[in-house]
Structure formats: C-alpha cells, structure tokens
Amino acid sequence: MSDPIISVENLSKKYRLGQIGTGTLSNDLKVWWALKRGLPNPMLKIGQEDHGNQTDGYIWALREVSFSVQPGEVLGIIGRNGAGKSTLLKILSRVTAPTTGRVKVRGRIASLLEVGTGFHPELTGRENIYLNGAILGMTKQEIDRKFDEIVDFAEIEQFIETPVKRYSSGMYVRLAFSVAAHLESEILLVDEVLAVGDLEFQKKCIGKMGDIASEEGRTVLFVSHNMVSVRRLCERGILLNAGVIETMGPIDDTLNQYMSIKEKTQLQDLASRTDRSGNGRLRFTGIEVLDESKIKYNVKLGSPTTIFIKYQGTAPLRNVRISLSIVNQYGERLNWLCNDFSGQPFQDLPEKGTIRVDFPRFPYMPGSYAIGVQALVGRDLADKVPNATVFQVHAGDFYDSGMNPPAKSGSVLVPHTWSVQAEE
C-alpha cells in the first residue's frame, strides 16, 4: 500500500444554527438590549427542528471524521441530505475552514462543486474558458495547451466567439463541465454535476470521470445522489450519517448499507411523516417498489414490477381516487398515474389495505426516482405526500432485443412493434 494522497484526521465542523448575528447592526443591538434586560432573544426562531446532531444552538456538520485516500482511487461519498457530504467537500476545496482537525494533501485539488461558477454572461466562450480555467486554478499556459480539447469535448466549436448568454443551457453546462474536467490536478472533487445536461452528455461525463481515474490515474472524490453513477464510477465508498462515518469500504457494501438506512426511515416513517397535507380520512402508511428480484426499491428496466401502497382509513371509504407521480432525479415529473384515468375507480375501499399498481414491463430508464402519492375521497384531498419514497432503476432489456435500450430512447419507454407490409 502506497502513501495516501489525502489524509483526513479527526475533522470536525461546527455551524451556528440560524443566522449568524442577525445581519444588521441595529438588530444585533436589539438582541443585546433584550438579553441585557433578561428578556428572551427577539430574533430567535421558535420550534426549530431537531436533527439529533445539534447542541446549544450549534450543529456539528462533521464530527471526528478520519479517512485516507490512495492515489488513483475513486471514492464515493454518499449519505442523506444534511449528512455532511457537502461540508466535507467544502473543507477539502478550502471554501471554508474546519473547526478542528486537519487535512493533509499531496498535489493540487480542483473542485467541480457546481459547474459554470465564474462564467460571465457577456464574455464569449473563448474568454470564459480562460476565466473559468484560471478561477479553477489553471495557469494561462495550461489552458492554452488544453484549449482545443476543451472545445472539442464541449461540442461548441462554432459558438466559441459567441457570448455565453446566447448559449442554450445545454451548451453552457457542456462548456462548464468540459473546462473543469480538463483541469490538470491530482485530485478532483465532484459534487452532483452529473445532474445536468441531456442524457447523452451525462453519459459522456460519466465516461470522462472514469477516464480521469483509470487512464490518467487521478484521484476523484465523488458526491452524488445518483446511485447508478456512484456504483459505476467508485470502487470504495464512505457513508456519512449525521456528520459521522457510518460505513467505509467497498462501494457495494456502502450502497447496500445506505439503502437499508434509507429504507428504514422511508418505510417506517411514511405513517408518521409530517410533510403531508389533506383532511386525513385516509392516510398512506407505507409504500414499496418490487420487481421479480424481490429486492425492495431496486428495479430492473423492463421487468414486471409492482408498487404497493399501504393505507389506513378512518372508515370504509367510497369513491376514492389514488394517484402516483413519478419524478426523476432532476425533479421532472414523468408521469401522473391515477386509477381514475385508467378507468378503475375504487367505489368501495376497505378501511385498511394495500393498493397494488402493476407494471407488466417497467418503463422508466435507469436512474433514481421519487414517488409522490395522493388520495382524493370524493372531491376532497384526504392525503398527499410529495416524496413518499425513492427507488432505483437499473439497466435492463426492455424490448427483449438482447441489449439495453440506448440512452437516447427517452425517459419513458413505450412498448411497440415494427412490421412491414408489401404493397402491390
């Protein structure tokens, strides 16, 4: 085992909750005056949510995190929102300083926390490549050398002298990613960049990330919610939970651990979740997504799949409409499915039960999806949970053609057949 390229030692980061001060001098004076007279702080928010990792108005975004990374390794960092992933990357990229502990690094670190930072809309593509490259830490000579490669990769040759404010959002993102991907640094930090651009380009980005690690031998730290690309790119993973390392090891183990944590919170919690609306005559208590493999929330494209929705009503209900929205990882709603639309209204619904939605061939392209559920009893909204659960779709042979459908097929596949008829 060679020497590590990054060594993180007992890293902790503490944030103060709410605002730091109140933003203006006069409000700070008001607070000071109120406290001085023994009155409660007038600027304090009431009833803030407790995440379990906060004490006395502070929150530990990271607590005593230690790990090391070998040169050439692609390390995936996963965890729920607020687990400390972004804070970790921010400290590594030196955007903010740690509270205690330290990080030792060999070589240069470049970060790709969000593509296109520092782009100036009035400047041309060429000017922005230089500006963005310099912001990311490249010298002019380095950019000169890489210039053609960057333009090629972004596929914007014709528009290189056009101000980027005239670019389509796709072109913009492609150019930005391209600049960042061509950085000559030993270590690259990536946060969720792949959640942009069209599918085709995303594939190209993932491919490029793989090249960066395998061919150029660079070290990559990768933060993403997209489990498919994490699995594809990373060999090892770190699972963060509430600021501490929950698991660290081979990526499959880490992902499984993550899924089981996620499953626990999602399944057990649907009944007790508070981010819902409706009069409560019916409440959703659980939701599961299963295909033939019987591994929950992991579905193969094209396989027979069932979504089970458990509910509890206040009494047997009449005239109930249940709808499902399928939302992809970019927040786009792909479908809105309702038993009313498909002509199968529930005239009489038992007080408690499980509703099945069967898909003969699961039609959603590989990726991460969220399901929102909603119930109408008569005309009134009984229950609505926007992000009831999340599940993954893996590649599969939808058309029984012996191969996986290409990414350009679209987001939702449609069963169909082709044939020819000869004409006289």
Partner: protein, 286 residues
Amino acid sequence: MEKTENEAKKWDLIIEPKRQLLDLRLSELWKYRDLIALFVRRDFVAAYKQTILGPLWYLIQPLLTTIIFTFIFGQVAALPTDGLPQFLFYMSGNILWAYFADCLTKTSNTFVANTNLFGKVYFPRMAVPVSILISNLITFAMQFVFFLLFVGYFALRGSEIHPNLWILAFPLLLLIMAGLGLGLGILISAMTTKYRDLRFLVSFGVTLLMYATPVIYPASSVPAQYQTIIHLNPVTSIIETFRYGFLGSGTVNPWGLVYSFIFMVVIVVIGSIVFNRVEATFMDTI
C-alpha cells in the same frame, strides 16, 4: 524536529482551522497572477459590451463631471481655485478622487458580490481586490493622459500653470491613494460579511467624504480653525500635492504626506489582517 520537517515535505497542503495572524500568503497570490490578469480583462471587456462608445466612457465620465463642477462650483457658487483655470482645478481633483472612491466602493463589496463564486471554489480571495485596484489604475491612467492633454492646451493658451519638481512625488501619491482605497475597502468588505449596514454607509459616506476633501475647493480657502480637521483627512495632502506638482499653485505640506503615508500603511495592515481572518470562514456567516 527532523520528523516535523519530513512531514512538511511530504504534504503539499495542510488544511487547518486557524491560520497565522499575518500569514498573507503573497506567494500564493503571485501564483494566481493569471487569474488577476483575467479578472482585470473581464472588468474591461464586460463593462462596455453592447455600448456604442465603448471605452470612450472612461473619458466622457470625468469630462462631463468636470464640466458640471466648473459650472456649478466655479460659475454659480464661484468658489476660489487658487488662481488656476477652473477646468483644470476641478478635473485634477475629480480624477484623483474618482480613483480613490472607485477603489474603495468596489473593494468594499468583494465578499458580498462574489458570494456565489467564493462559495464554490478556492483561490486567494485577495485576487479580487487586487484586480479591482489594477483595473482602476488603468482607468485612471487613461484619464490622467486625458488630463495632461488639457494641461498642455491651457499652457499653450498662456494660462498660469507652473509644473515643478513635486511632480516627481506623483508615483508616491498614487501608491498612497491606492493603498488607502484598498485598505479601507477590504476592511469594510470583511466587516460587511456580518453587518450589511456598512454597505449603505459606504455608498453615501464616500460622497460625503468628498466634501471633506479639497476636491471642489482649495485647502487654502478653508478657515483657519478648520485647517487641522481638513488635514486629518489623509486624502487632503495627496490632492493638494498633486495640484501643486502639476499646476503649480496651492500648498504642499511634507508632514501631511508623511501622515497620509503612515495612515495608509496602518490601514492596509489592519485591513489585511481582518480580511485574512474573515476569508477562512466567511462562507459560514454570509
């Protein structure tokens, strides 16, 4: 001892919670000189895109201001100008003051205006104020040449203009001016990360400060009891010396220059220390 030396050699970068008070890492800033150059370029290219007159605006601005000043303060209010042609008197004060004011207001906005950028990538934050200083210096250089053309024109027409050896103090004046703008600017920018109030203070404070500086009137016309107060303003001696060197009338006070210089050094040191402290964690507070 030997062990720590080995440690330091092995690692290129160590990220730690606190840094030294006066560790300004100027060498790092030097490494990012290409970035500074590109920031300067961006400021120029972006500022006048989609304008017809383009960079001519750098000359139109001081020209129009000077004409208005000449009319209002020279003709209507009839303020004294130490016997100088009013146009040259106001123009000299105006371009110098504009340099100082622009450096100050733009650098004081460093953190707030670049939150988005600073929140995503690391580069020495000082690159932004330094680039502002340089692009303002280039603007000033253009306006200064423009000013010299007018000096030549008035001299040919036989106006009472007597340039003298104090002209040699010009680089020093520029240095003090730049330092004052930078030092105050970064000090305020570091403090605005916590208190936005200061932004309002700066925007109208700079305008008010102009009236406490001999821009539109000569220091000699200030009543005796206020002379000390006006000379407490570190910009006073700079503008007076500039006028004396290039136009040959007014007052020069060497001690005033020494005072301005010391004031500048102190403010730059304090500004750098505060800026340096805030730089590390300002993302958490902004």
